[in-house]
């Protein structure tokens, strides 16, 4: 449901204030401790942030994509670990159910995902398979009325907090392609599930990724998303389509923060008796960053509007994610450069963000995968027209 401008404005104001007053002061602490204070998830749940993308009839807020990207950009202004808390429930951990789930599955899971009571996590990547569906090895063998899952999932975001996993597993072992893959909803407390130790990462401290190992995990037949085998990869791709726009919006917000940090530093720091901001080479970097951030912002808003209008956004969502994440990388690089030596020192936020933004070009589809998605869509459209 689209909100009226006043309500949306009030919500954006509230989120902006929460980010500024509550989250930004915690950034250094979570970076140092690699842990988020316990009360933060509860506060974010109270504000309704876990249910942003879940329809109202299932207890969520049901924001349109155009609205969700505005909230994504606000949350992008602080350490990405905070956004990651809600990230899977808003995106890959819930959208499989929203898009392709049966009515029973929606009623079973969505209200608890929307309230934050349950955390959803998405298990696609494996030790030998990421974007390459054909190599997906996790199997789901028919067993009486249900299935038995075996396999290892790698780098799974929020797995340590998860209550339910959306697991991509091969139900048709003879079909090596995407058509052999199905999506399951698996209770994280099921027997046979083990978590690996959280990985040490380059950045985004406070968010934990770990391997999830499935060993003879029994799931009932109604755990199959949509109740149909062979649809799992299609579901995953639809989920990622929406997730890409969300992530792109986070990059837009993060770049805006980096520009603010750059401006604050450049207008204070003096060299040769002049503040940095007066030097044209510094101005050039500031201008490039703003121009690219504005371009990405515009792309995200346009693609989100197309998504809401029901258009096929596979290509534009990939364009937005590709450009926005690469843009955030360049803006972070310039922010460090503008800070000079200080930018290499951990006391400054830009040093941390420089490492944090690196992940945006990798997860939920690397830049190279986005390029392929974009090019394939271009070629398909060309061939259809000629």
């Amino acid at each position: 449901m689209a909100l009226d401008p006043e309500t949306l404005g009030q919500f954006i104001d509230t989120v902006r204030r929460y980010v500024r007053e509550r989250l930004i002061p915690l950034e250094e602490q979570i970076s140092r401790d690699d842990a988020i204070p316990e009360e933060i998830p509860a506060e974010m749940a109270e504000m309704g942030l876990y249910g942003l993308s879940i329809p109202e009839e299932y207890g969520g807020i049901g924001l349109t994509m155009a609205e969700e990207v505005l909230i994504g950009a606000e949350l992008g202004h602080t350490a990405p670990a905070f956004r990651s808390l809600i990230g899977t429930n808003v995106g890959i951990g819930s959208q499989g159910i929203v898009i392709d789930g049966t009515e029973e599955q929606k009623r079973e899971y969505l209200p608890r995902l929307a309230s934050g009571e349950l955390v959803g996590s998405f298990c696609l990547t494996e030790p030998d398979s990421g974007s390459d569906a054909a190599s997906l090895k996790t199997s789901a063998r028919r067993d009486g009325n249900g299935y038995v899952l075996n396999g290892t999932k790698r780098y799974i975001t929020n797995s340590t907090r998860a209550g339910v996993f959306t697991v991509m597993a091969r139900t048709d072992l003879d079909n090596k392609g995407a058509g052999g893959i199905s999506a399951f909803l698996v209770d994280a407390k099921s027997d046979g599930i083990a978590l690996g130790r959280p990985y040490k990462k380059m950045g985004q401290q406070g968010t934990h990724v770990a391997d999830v190992i499935f060993e003879d995990v029994k799931v009932p037949a109604d755990a199959l998303i949509g109740g149909v085998e062979g649809q799992g990869f299609k579901t995953a791709m639809k989920v990622l389509d929406r997730g890409r726009l969300h992530l792109a919006s986070v990059c837009v917000g993060m770049a805006d923060r980096l520009i603010d940090e750059s401006l604050a530093f450049a207008t204070e720091r003096k060299q040769f008796d002049t503040v940095l901001a007066e030097f044209q080479l510094i101005q050039a970097m500031l201008a490039d960053s703003r121009t690219e951030q504005y371009a990405a912002d515009t792309m995200v808003r346009d693609a989100a509007a197309k998504y809401d209008a029901g258009e096929n956004t596979a290509m534009v969502a990939a364009c937005a994610k590709y450009y926005a994440s690469e843009m955030a990388g360049r803006v972070a690089d310039r922010a460090v450069q503008i800070h000079g030596g200080a930018g290499y020192i951990s006391d400054y936020a830009v040093e941390r963000f420089y490492r944090d933004v690196r992940l945006f070009r990798i997860y939920e589809g690397t830049s190279q995968i986005q390029q392929i998605v974009i090019a394939r869509n271009m070629l398909r459209t060309w061939k259809e027209a000629h």
Partner: protein, 249 residues
């Protein structure tokens, strides 16, 4: 009991305030406005009283232009039950506000009125006290703790010497200090629900009050810029400068 909370729409505390070129006031065009932070604390306290079962209804009142309704909506999103909006464009002074609030209090019959101790735009710190005098109610200003008792409130006040705890009989006026509580962030579901809560609209004339200002603003200027400091060589020079230049000793 009913709790009435007046809320004022002021320039957002994060905005750098600029004086108008003609020195008649401060620039308000295209400036972000929000609820006065002390009033936010007042609303939060009233909602906590309701949540604790000590109050049945929280009414948010704002006197100001049409957009003051947004401020009331913020209070409703936090948890107030309904709003009263007195539409008035232009300057209002504490005495006129207190008179209008008195009329609303007589109509609504609250047991407690919680106000911010001052608004961050004019820093008057007068409205609560004036309202108390006009109504002949007890007052407890600068509250950092409020306990609701039977027919009385126990209020801890922040005073220059430290903390002072007093008991006041209800009905009473309380004004909030900064440390009373930390206001909550409104949730989106509650922001949406707030749209459906009623706001009663009225005018100063409906309340029988003439809001015409009694004070004339002669001019508004920016505070003097801080001059750069100097390093002194020794204590003797410091004392000499304090005596002869700063003339403070």
């Amino acid at each position: 009991m009913k709790v009435l909370v007046p809320v004022k729409r002021v320039i957002d505390y994060n905005v750098k305030v600029r004086v108008k070129a003609d020195q008649t006031g401060v620039e308000l065009a295209n400036v972000k406005m929000s609820m006065n932070p002390f009033d936010e604390i007042a609303i939060e306290e009233a909602i906590r009283m309701k949540e604790a079962g000590k109050a049945e209804e929280v009414i948010a009142v704002s006197i100001g232009p049409q957009q003051a309704q947004e401020t009331i909506r913020t209070a409703l999103a936090m948890g107030a039950d309904r709003g009263v909006h007195v539409l008035h464009d232009g300057v209002v002074e504490p005495l006129a506000v207190a008179k209008m609030l008195k009329a609303i209090v007589e109509k609504e019959g609250p047991t407690v009125v919680i106000l911010g101790k001052q608004a961050i735009d004019d820093d008057c710190n007068q409205t609560g006290q004036m309202l108390s005098a006009l109504l002949g109610w007890s007052q407890a200003t600068f509250a950092s703790k409020i306990e609701v008792g039977d027919g009385e409130l126990t209020v801890t006040r922040e005073v220059d010497a430290g903390l002072e705890t007093i008991k006041v009989k209800t009905p009473a006026i309380v004004t909030t200090d900064l440390r009373l509580n930390e206001p909550r962030y409104a949730s989106l579901p509650n922001i949406m629900k707030a749209k459906k809560k009623p706001i009663e609209a009225m005018s100063p004339a409906d309340l029988g009050v003439d809001p015409t200002p009694r004070l004339a603003t002669l001019k508004v200027v920016e505070p003097a810029k801080r001059a750069g400091g100097v390093k002194v060589a020794d204590v003797a020079e410091l004392v000499s400068k304090l005596k002869n230049e700063a003339k403070v000793i």
